[in-house]
């Protein structure tokens, strides 16, 4: 297995090539652009035998993906922010029709004001669209999870589109050391995609018929059941992948959390910086640990409950607002823990909107401030950290 220094976007493009993707729909938006640019080069050089569809908008990008996937071609696209929002309507169709499209989202804040920098507002706005959603923290994970995403999405009992999130710039534009897999290894891991009911004149099917009230609920229930039961496939695929690569992934990952009274929970590249804060505070003898939420949909309720069962305080750092409501990750976690008799006190913070940095020292402050709030019982409202007054 070779190890190369490479930008996160290019590492993803390498994974797409190794996955022998057959159709790529592309529409540029920062910070996703490098992915589809690199794929265009691969196609132009004959390194990847795929149809490259340079569409006129993201709405059409996802729509073209519906078509390529429905005839049975392995399909990929990438987007961010406004592009993801423009796709919004089509995302529900992709999952409702059970088309295993794989998409990278290079997370970026939403307008207005216009911002090209990272936060998770775009991801959270698509929370309920019925896709499998996974967060990667660095280039290596992006490479690994891209390959896994196809295996998961195309599994005959899953057949659901899969979105994997990387933080814009932090992952997409940072050069890191990445360990790649050989083509033969990937070929074995990832068999050919065959949709069980493709559009085919020899076996005509009607796809996307309309659902009167007597059948709509049942269709949605089936979708919900499929998404939930995808978790066992996700676990199996990640396990297989770990045998292949030595790298382990699970829905909820704990970092130095065994004896921790206080846990910090976050998603995406943040957790890399947060680890530094945890290391330092533990060295000082403090009982703090870190929880990284890897799988966002289906929501890993069981694993989360398990991971926080011994903690007294759980500090949740959201990178998005739910304007006028509770921050999205926090509200999910509150909902997951509420039925338990004993549960940690939850402190909710929102930070790093539109690309504002939080340093390792910043994370220490967040944890300290969270513990104070928990002691004082100030658990009612979330707080946006680092606001300049």
């Amino acid at each position: 297995m070779k190890r190369t220094g490479m930008e996160g976007s290019f590492a993803i493009a390498e994974a797409i090539k190794l996955a022998r993707v057959e159709a790529v729909a592309a529409y540029p938006i920062t910070p996703q652009t490098h992915i589809v640019e690199r794929l265009a080069e691969f196609v132009a050089n004959g390194e990847l035998d795929a149809e490259y569809i340079p569409v006129e908008s993201e709405h059409s990008a996802m729509s073209a993906c519906l078509g390529t996937s429905a005839v049975g071609a392995r399909t990929f696209t990438a987007t961010a922010s406004q592009g993801l929002e423009l796709m919004h309507e089509v995302l529900y169709v992709a999952s409702g029709l059970r088309l295993p499209i794989v998409m990278t989202v290079a997370n970026r804040a939403l307008s207005a004001p216009l911002s090209i920098w990272t936060d998770h507002s775009d991801a959270m706005a698509t929370r309920d669209c019925g896709w499998i959603q996974i967060f990667a923290e660095n280039a290596q994970q992006a490479f690994d999870l891209t390959l896994c995403a196809f295996r998961i999405a195309e599994d005959p009992i899953v057949l659901l589109p899969t979105m994997f999130h990387i933080d814009g710039f932090y992952v997409s534009h940072t050069i890191e050391s990445v360990e790649f897999l050989e083509q033969e290894v990937v070929d074995k891991f990832l068999p050919e995609y065959r949709h069980p009911y493709p559009l085919d004149p020899d076996k005509p099917v009607t796809i996307g018929a309309f659902g009167p009230p007597f059948i709509y609920t049942e269709a949605k229930k089936a979708h919900e059941a499929a998404l939930r039961s995808s978790k066992k496939v996700i676990l199996r695929v990640w396990q297989e992948f770990s045998k292949l690569s030595g790298r382990h992934y699970s829905p909820v990952e704990s970092y130095k959390a065994e004896d921790a009274d206080v846990l910090l929970l976050c998603m995406g590249s943040f957790s890399e910086t947060a680890m530094m804060a945890i290391d330092k505070m533990q060295a000082e003898g403090q009982k703090v640990g870190l929880i990284r939420l890897r799988l966002w949909r289906p929501f890993p309720t069981e694993e989360l409950r398990q991971a926080v069962s011994k903690a007294q305080v759980l500090i949740i750092l959201d990178r998005a607002l739910s304007l006028g409501g509770t921050p999205p990750v926090c509200s999910e976690i509150q909902a997951a823990l509420y039925p338990l008799k004993t549960r940690p006190k939850i402190v909710s913070f929102v930070g790093s909107l539109g690309g504002r940095e939080i340093s390792a020292q910043g994370f220490e402050e967040v944890i300290r401030h969270g513990v104070d709030k928990a002691k004082q019982g100030e658990l009612d409202e979330f707080e946006i950290i680092g606001v300049r007054e």
């Binding site: 569809i53 006129e56 059409s60 729509s63 073209a64 429905a70 004149p201 005509p204 018929a209």
Partner: protein, 309 residues
Amino acid sequence: MESLAIYVPRLVTTKEYFAPGHRACMGCGEALAVRLVCKALGRNIIIANATGCMEIVSSPLPSTSWEVPWIHTLFENTAAVASGIEAGIKVLRRKGKYTKRTKVVAMAGDGGTADIGFQALSGVLERGHDLIYICFDNEAYMNTGIQRSSSTPLGASTTTSPAGKVSIGQTTWKKNMPAIAVAHDIPYVATACHSYPFDLMNKISKAIEIKGPSYIHILSVCPTGWRLPSDLTIKAGRLAIETGIFPLYEVEKDRYTLNLDFPQLRPIEDYFKLQGRFRHLSKEITSQIQERVAAEYAKLKKKATSNNY
């Protein structure tokens, strides 16, 4: 012998790919047009259909009127979905995983074509996908209850462009979609109407053979939206052509052909008076429209004659 020579080319398959039992209104010209189109397309096709009357009347779960592979996803993205199907087949064929010669067909109403789906359509025509795009133009958003579209003709009363004390109904001229398609420099553009079934089916057969995008614009009479007795659908379609309001023509590359020409066009009143949607129009407005129709027809005729060789 002689009568056979006339008869045989007019033989049409008895096979229906748009099966009976759909829920279109009585006398629906759009349903008739779809049926004729499907006969001409045959079975080796894949259809992507936009939201609108035809999708709704043909596909309430758990039944379907489609005897060919058919996909509906959204209102405005049909061209894009079709382009994906075409691209998908292309790559699978290259890799030896798909061996049939299948034509991809996109179908949408005038709203799904001239308004909300306009961008996706333009993208597809510009990228040159090998597919047929068919607009079934009933001159309004019929599925949602007769609202105006940019394809509604001037003076027509609809629920969002109602005729009133100070309004004539639709205040803008019908968008010229075929001309816009021609401007994309595609190999084949044609207009058609269900009231001329052989002309319509011939055009579809031609489009199947063409490599690259074709655009076919089919005037589809809607008795419900046009306020017209349902037994007058065919007649209304014929009058649209005989008055020159909707000429039947083809554009192959830059060559225009007027398929049905009339030494003398009928007055547009003949067409208007059948329909409730034009009932309120004054003589003045009618003659304004008449002038425009004559001018547009003359322009088209000039294009058609200037490329005669």
